[in-house]
Amino acid sequence: MSPQRRLALGCLMAAVVAMAGTGPARAEPPPGAASCSGCHGPAGSEGPVPSLLGRPAAETAAAMAAFRTGQREATVMDRIARGFTDDETRAIADWLADQGDQP
């Protein structure tokens, strides 16, 4: 596709979206949640750090609490988990759980 046509199509799509109402595409990440994906990849990603998307919120919240108290050993998560309150952690855990079907 030529850049011009792509541009035009982009505008067309923008117009269609506008008809449907401009607004957030999906639930917005609560404060802090967007930073987790720097290390925790999308569902199905490989590597030593597991994906958190779609994980039950209670599991994520419990792990974060254990990291925070030092009950659970960690290289880095203890230092990160201590930066979030219980409420913030719960909001992040809920949001991550809801992202299960997202790419």
Partner: protein, 436 residues
């Protein structure tokens, strides 16, 4: 804050291809029965992002995610982005520069228009950016993310020509390969000298990771060689961890000279490969001069850089405190307690995109919370890290107390190994998220 209503004709002015696109928009509007320009104007909330690095590329993509109705243009002249993280491994011969390269196809597929041009001027009054080919882009919000410029006016003798003899290698690319070739060509018993600037600069632990990996190369290939670090400061990031690792792994190979012992380089002579300090001069077989830095030039042209050369911002919206409607993220911004890292750039970019999506809807943006983690390799299988959590406080991004910190001084080799593996995992995950 006052913002002009988005122009009903959208951002696309001048230049024939732009006209074509505009025609396309109007045709689409007519087709869909969208007669009123106001409706179209609303559809085309234009956000322009200058710079396709960790900051800008992430932001462009996150903007489309936050609100697919936004029309997002990413201005970046380079065909491919060469990432700095892990480029110290390239110097040590443990990685190839091609593994640092990332394209923009994924970002384009996410609905971002890529303008393969440099931005050369910004008119904040008319909210317009001019590109190298004369094209002009209107914006409702502009994101400036040009990274750093190396200052070739800071160390007498160190200009762009000198960098061909004494490479900085502080932007991944030909400079990285030049320094690698020089290290490879150096005879055993030779002396490598690094010059490291005072804060703030891109990647605070980066010079010390570099020293580590150069030492690894020397120990392996040129065991009689030496490495001297001339430092313009008395303390550095993860210092105790680095020093412990250096003593453990490299014996006396690395000598660190702090500011108060004559570490500040006051002049260089590329002809004789000499670095001069207040305490004497050092002859180098290979010299790596990392000069002081400032925000990329377009920041000053846009009026968002202050006398320090960096850009003050509001920590909630990342909007410049000097010019309304322009947001600054990544290395160019004054990030408060956040260091100038790819991780910070990525985190700031997402928070900035969230804020802009709110501002476009004329809603108050949420207060962000951000994470930074910088991994460093003391050896290929020996990783250490510094982490922090940040939130706005008194107009700056401040560290959340009780969180963050560095890897423990006492740790088993298996922990260092795990952190080296996590470092690599971070690089893969982060570059996948931004460019994949």
């Amino acid at each position: 804050m006052t913002r002009p209503a988005p122009s009903p004709t959208g951002s696309l002015t001048r230049g024939t291809s732009r006209r074509t696109a505009l025609g396309g928009t109007l045709a689409a509007g007519a087709l869909l029965g969208l007669g009123a320009p106001a409706a179209l104007g609303q559809a085309a909330a234009q956000v322009v992002v200058i710079g396709g690095g960790f900051a800008g590329a992430t932001c462009a993509r996150s903007l489309k995610r936050a609100d697919p109705g936004l029309v997002v243009t990413l201005v970046e002249p380079a065909e491919r982005y060469l990432a700095c993280p892990f480029s110290n491994l390239v110097l040590a011969g443990l990685r190839e520069l091609d593994e640092q390269a990332f394209g923009y196809a994924g970002i384009e597929a996410a609905g971002v228009t890529i303008a393969r041009q440099p931005a050369v001027a910004v008119d904040p009054e008319r909210r317009r950016v001019r590109l190298g080919d004369g094209t002009e882009l209107d914006y409702l919000h502009l994101v400036v993310a040009p990274g750093v410029d190396l200052r070739f006016d800071a160390i007498p003798g160190y200009d762009e020509a000198a960098a061909e003899r004494m490479p900085h290698a502080w932007k991944a690319g030909p400079q990285t390969e030049l320094l690698r070739r020089q290290l490879e060509a150096m005879p055993d018993g030779g002396q490598v000298v690094m010059a490291v600037p005072a804060n703030p600069f891109r990647c605070p632990p980066g010079p010390y990771e570099r020293a580590s990996l150069i030492a690894h190369y020397l120990k392996t290939h040129k065991p009689r060689a030496k490495l001297i670090i001339l430092d313009a400061k008395d303390q550095f990031s993860k210092q105790r961890l680095f020093e412990q690792g250096w003593a453990e792994i490299y014996g006396g190979l690395i000598e660190w000279v702090p500011l108060s012992f004559g570490g500040q380089v006051t002049e260089v002579d590329p002809g004789t490969s000499t670095l001069v300090t207040e305490f004497g001069s050092h002859q180098a077989d290979v010299a790596n001069v990392i000069p002081p830095q400032r925000a990329g030039a377009i920041a000053a042209l846009a009026g968002v850089a202050d006398a320090t050369g960096w850009c003050p911002i509001d920590p909630v919206t990342f909007e410049s405190t000097l010019v309304p409607g322009i947001h600054v993220i990544g290395d160019a911004a004054i990030g408060g307690a956040m260091p100038k890292s790819a991780f910070s750039a990525n985190a700031q970019a997402k928070a900035c995109a969230t804020a802009i999506a709110h501002l476009v809807r004329e809603e108050a943006p949420p207060t962000p919370k951000l994470i930074n983690t910088c991994y460093s390799l003391v050896a290929p299988d020996y990783g250490i890290s510094i982490a922090g959590v940040y939130a706005p406080k008194d107009g700056l991004l401040a560290e959340v107390e009780g969180a963050g910190g560095v890897s423990p001084l006492e740790a088993a080799a298996s922990v260092r190994q795990a952190e080296a593996a996590y470092a690599e995992a971070w690089f893969r995950t982060a570059t996948d998220e931004v460019f994949g």
